[in-house]
Symmetry: C2
Subunit: 91 residues, 2 copies
């Protein structure tokens, strides 16, 4: 688990080039590179822009680490829901 959490942290830090926030370009690159296999709209510039605005709780045009964790939580929740549904079907 520690390595999984470390991956979440280091991925953000490398995408933000060590800065506290991701700018639009950094967020787009991160989503395309890291989430294209688990997020349908990862390669649609419009959808990624919409996603960024949805995450941008303080509307500063950037994505903070906390806002990024909200996306990770959403992805983990939907992955968990899919696994629970699949397990229920196979019972």
């Amino acid at each position: 688990m520690e390595s999984a959490i470390k991956t979440l942290v280091t991925t953000f830090i490398s995408s933000s080039k060590g800065k506290e926030n991701l700018d639009s370009k950094g967020f787009k690159n991160l989503v395309e590179k890291q989430f294209s296999s688990i997020l349908e709209d990862a390669n649609s510039a419009d959808k990624v822009k919409e996603m960024q605005q949805g995450l941008d709780a303080n509307a500063d045009g950037k994505v903070s680490f906390g806002e990024y964790l909200t996306l990770v939580g959403y992805l983990a929740q939907s992955m968990s829901d899919r696994k629970t549904a699949a397990a229920a079907q196979s019972d």
Copy 2:
């Protein structure tokens, strides 16, 4: 990143034995087994109990996946803060 998120999900599902929520024993085991290297109080039963109560947003005595993600977010945030502080010192 996908494997990191998968680890978050599968760890919860195995600790909760496929149920939607972790009971107190399941939460204690998860914290001791998974977070002892990154969480100081992971082996203190009282502190883990306190942590569980702090996470239990709907006060149902259990820890849901969403409440568990809050803990993961807290751990990731404090790990990120430590890395950012260390990087600032080495500049």
